[in-house]
């Protein structure tokens, strides 16, 4: 369209309105897509004439509003937001009040009472920039460096299934860890200062429980053609096999029993770790990583394996029990805790242990044995420990649980002799604490002449497990029988690696998983690979700022639902019922996000 055609069409229209109907006119103009140009005013003595100038199409439209000078004029910024400049101008030049000028384009600057100019009601949209990242105390405390802060956030964001994968980056068995881990992360939690750490273990379990199936859809790395044999299907072996498989190696796992799991299978009661969940999870990991399982096949010597494998990982654990070293130990009715637990935990057979049971020892596995004995029908279970409760290695939670279930504790007592028979006669002796020994605990000293006898149906030895390596393996062992390894988990033999309980004696699942992962990395590096990616701070992860810290500090821990103690002793059902999603959300909400900035 050229100017010549345009020229004559420009018309000027003058509208007049009072204060009552000016908004009607303005809305009409807005509906006609009129563009506000400016606002002019004329001083008529007592009256003021305000002229709103609009452009409608090519026409000029002037809206004249006459108003007494003292009365305020309503602002039109609600209809034409760009009027604020002109309205301010009129207000300044003509000493009139224009009420309700709203300088607001995005709806963000609506001021609330008491707000400062920088307090906005609505927040900015989009990801917020990071300031500084830390590992987080919980992550630093974890032997396997599991990224706890990240999966807590993922649970908070309603993505627990992503949280499950986050755990697997450092420890491949979240469903198991969520039930049995001793949770050092919770000791590192900053909420611990309020004596109520975030229940990180239960959140991990929630993440696992939210999976429809424990098997995920993941991609293995390109096949490298390298073959690795893993000896032992315990946590360290499973972990090593999984990570090696994910890195593209061909892994075969040899397990001497029919079922994988190792110490997790026999050492952990069913009421803490249902065996079907354990087996499902291990099978899911094996399937993801393409691990071949050869169960029921004991490896007696490494030589044949070394022929057709590029590397071997030994993770055979600590399976022998320490002996009490007293007279009558071999008598019928004296059993070791591993025997008892594996009969009960791994098998379906229920042992007849009678009504009165004595448990000797003070570790977590002794307490497990005592609690199992209660479930097997023993009405009178007593634990004998040679030191006091303060020195007891068992966790206070376990002691508390056992006490609730009716287990008696006797301290500063040690067995001296067993008289065979049915029932057995167990001679015990009182002790007193002497000088501290090399472990820092005070050494118990027997009090001469304080022997006394109790009549029991069964004596359970639970003073710990020892490592026993078959001689044919040919690896160097320490005085205690554990395998000697260097910092790369290499043994004295070339291409043979070891980790888990068989290297440093009985320990925890999470440490075994860490060993398996690190050994897998070491094996991959020996093949020329980069190893499993080490945990590093994800600088791109979106982390919101902590909300009101005071509010978070004052929130109470969400207690997990459990079976009642009467119900517990009747069967082997899982005691902890886990969090549901709202409980998990509330618990995850308590996180300070101290890994993000302090």
């Amino acid at each position: 369209m050229t100017a010549q055609q345009y020229e004559l069409k420009v018309k000027t229209e003058d509208l007049s309105a009072g204060k009552a109907d000016m908004f009607l006119r303005l809305n009409e103009l807005k509906a006609q897509n009129a563009r506000l140009q400016t606002i002019t005013a004329l001083d008529h003595g007592e009256e003021l004439e305000v002229i709103y100038n609009f452009e409608r199409g090519t026409d000029e439209v002037n809206l004249h509003v006459r108003t007494p000078k003292r009365e305020p004029i309503p602002s039109i910024t609600g209809i034409f937001p760009s009027a604020f400049i002109a309205e301010n101008e009129v207000q300044e030049h003509f000493q009139v009040k224009i009420s309700g000028i709203n300088v607001d384009f995005g709806g963000k600057m609506m001021k609330i009472e008491g707000a400062t100019e920088v307090t906005l009601v609505k927040p900015a949209v989009g990801p917020e920039p990071f300031i500084k990242r830390f590992y987080g105390r919980c992550r630093e405390e974890c032997p396997a460096m599991v990224n706890a802060p990240k999966y807590i956030r993922q649970i908070l964001q309603g993505k627990p299934q992503e949280g499950y994968s986050t755990v697997i980056e450092q420890a491949p068995l979240p469903a198991i860890l969520g039930r049995v881990c001793f949770a050092p992360c919770q000791e590192g939690c900053r909420q611990e200062k309020n004596e109520e750490p975030i229940q990180i273990r239960l959140l991990k379990r929630f993440a696992a429980d939210s999976m429809p199936s424990l098997k995920r859809k993941v991609k293995r790395a390109k096949a490298t053609g390298r073959k690795v044999a893993v000896v032992g299907g315990g946590p360290s072996g499973v972990s090593c096999a999984f990570y090696l498989g994910m890195m593209g190696h061909e892994v075969t796992l040899y397990e001497k029993n029919d079922r994988c799991g190792g110490a997790m299978l026999w050492g952990i009661p069913k009421y803490r770790l249902p065996k079907n969940i354990m087996e499902d999870e291990i099978a899911a990991r094996f399937e993801e990583a393409g691990v071949k399982l050869k169960a029921g096949k004991e490896v007696k010597s490494l030589k044949p394996l070394l022929k057709d494998h590029d590397a071997i990982f030994i993770g055979i654990g600590a399976v022998e029990s320490y002996k009490l070293g007293i007279e009558g130990e071999e008598a019928e009715g004296v059993i070791d805790s591993r025997q008892l637990l594996s009969e009960v935990n791994a098998g379906d057979r229920l042992l007849n242990i009678g009504q009165t049971v004595a448990v000797v020892g003070g570790g977590n596995s002794s307490i497990d044995a005592a609690r199992v004995a209660r479930r097997l029908g023993a009405s009178n279970v007593t634990m004998y420990y040679r030191r006091t409760e303060k020195e007891m290695p068992a966790s206070p939670l376990e002691i508390h649980g056992a006490t609730q279930e009716g287990v008696n504790f006797e301290y500063l007592i040690t067995p001296v002799k067993v008289f065979p028979g049915k029932p057995l006669k167990l001679v015990l002796q009182y002790m007193q604490l002497g000088e501290p020994d090399e472990s820092g605990r005070r050494r118990p000293v027997p009090i001469q002449g304080s022997e006394f006898t109790v009549v029991v149906d069964t004596v359970i030895k639970a003073i710990g497990q020892a490592v026993s390596i078959p001689k044919d393996y040919g690896v160097e062992v320490t005085r205690r029988g554990t395998i000697v390894t260097n910092e790369n988990y290499e043994t004295s033999l070339k291409n043979v690696y070891a980790g888990g309980d068989c290297v440093y004696g009985p320990s925890s699942v999470i440490e075994a998983l860490r060993d398996g992962r690190n050994a897998a990395s070491a094996i991959d590096r020996s093949f020329g690979g980069k190893g499993w990616s080490e945990p590093s701070i994800d600088i791109n992860e979106f982390v919101g700022r902590p909300l009101n810290l005071e509010e978070i500090k004052s929130m109470e821990r969400v207690e997990v639902r459990e079976l009642s103690s009467e119900e517990r002793v009747r069967n082997f059902d899982e005691v902890e019922l886990g969090y549901n999603s709202s409980e998990a959300f509330r618990e995850a909400y308590r996180c300070w996000r101290c890994d993000w900035n302090e």
């Binding site: 010549q4 563009r35 000029e60 908070l156 700022r545």
Partner: protein
């Protein structure tokens, strides 16, 4: 979920009134979240000179010089617009030749203003050699002004009823010669402004002003034409524009880059308009004197280099005006500027602020913004 529902504190960065990137005194308070601009609070009123009030106290004929001092860069258009207003309410017929002469000078000033801006914009985005080159070329227009009017910047040739100076044959020749030299120089810069990857990286996608929002918030001039709206007061055919054939330049990019291209292409278009006007210019008088006092009111709108200039003139039959209201294009472009800054980062501020071609001193007949905040 919880990450986005919290209220929090933001940083406030004051920009101006004294700031290296924009020598004119405007104060913008940027409310930023780290680097991201969340909101902008404009604050004007640092160079309020009371020109509108002075227009009511002066003789209406002397107001021409006052109005020309509203803005230094586009002073001729201000004077011309004021004269047009008075001519309309006093029923003065302007001779056709004077109309053509006004059109030519208005377009010369558009070239001068756009070149000035292109240089400042190049400086704002850190392209200093381009800034120097554009400003060196701009000297040709300023020298031409001096040759023909006696002043480099202020032409002061407007009178009510016509113009003070004629463009005779020899002057027309000078215009043709000098402007053709300048046109070649500007055309040489075309590939730089249109294709340079550095300029594109700095401007493309910055300061988005959607088409609908641009009209609604009342953007004018190259700012709205960069959003694809064909809004140009020259189309109304004031002065001699009705006899010239041209099409307003629009770009659809809605960003700072489009606004820059609009200004660049308009510069080239102005050369053609001047050439056409010089060719068509009829013979005849250049001034039609009329001493009637103005009575009645009128709204005059012209296209200044920055956009639509708005004059409301009301006379009451004496030699003094009842009211003279001036709305410069920058005042109309400030609400769009505020919206186009939101969501960008602090380093984008110079690019976006410059992209509306702010001329704060002409905007400044108003004082502090008071209102909702």
């Amino acid at each position: 979920m919880s990450e986005t529902t919290m209220s929090k504190k933001y940083t406030v960065i004051p920009f101006g009134p004294q700031h290296p990137v924009l020598p004119e005194p405007v104060h913008l308070r940027f409310i930023v979240d780290e680097e991201k601009i969340v909101d902008v609070v404009p604050n004007l009123g640092y160079v309020h000179r009371g020109i509108e009030r002075a227009c009511e106290l002066n003789d209406y004929k002397r107001n021409i010089y006052l109005c020309e001092r509203v803005c230094g860069i586009c002073n001729f258009v201000h004077g011309m617009t004021y004269c047009e207003g008075i001519e309309k309410i006093t029923d003065t017929d302007v001779p056709p030749r004077a109309k053509y002469i006004r059109t030519i000078w208005a377009e010369v000033q558009r070239i001068q203003s756009h070149l000035l801006w292109l240089g400042l914009f190049a400086d704002a985005i850190g392209f200093e050699s381009l800034f120097m080159q554009v400003w060196r070329d701009r000297e040709i227009v300023l020298a031409l002004n001096e040759k023909t009017n006696g002043h480099r910047i202020h032409l002061e040739t407007n009178l009510i009823g016509g113009v003070r100076k004629d463009i005779d044959e020899s002057l027309a020749k000078t215009y043709r010669e000098d402007l053709s030299v300048l046109k070649k120089k500007v055309e040489m810069l075309k590939p730089v402004f249109h294709n340079d990857s550095g300029i594109r990286a700095k401007c493309e996608g910055k300061g988005i002003l959607p088409k609908a929002k641009a009209s609604f918030l009342g953007a004018v001039g190259p700012t709205i034409r960069g959003s694809g709206v064909k809004q140009d007061m020259r189309l109304t055919g004031y002065e001699a524009y009705g006899q010239l054939d041209f099409e307003p330049i629009t770009y659809e990019g809605e960003d700072a880059y489009s606004r820059m291209l609009v200004r660049f292409d308009e510069t080239l278009q102005s050369f053609d308009l001047i050439e056409e006007a010089l060719k068509q210019m009829p013979e005849g008088p250049i001034l039609n004197k009329n001493d009637r006092f103005p009575e009645g009111s009128v709204v005059v709108r012209t296209e200044q280099p920055r956009g639509e200039l708005f004059y409301y003139v009301e006379g009451n039959g004496t030699n003094k005006l009842q009211r003279c209201k001036i709305r410069t294009p920058t005042a109309a472009n400030i609400p769009p500027l505020v919206t186009m800054l939101i969501g960008y980062e602090v380093p984008d501020i110079p690019t976006i602020v410059h992209s509306i071609d702010p001329c704060i001193s002409c905007t400044e007949r108003i004082t502090y913004l008071k209102g909702g905040r």
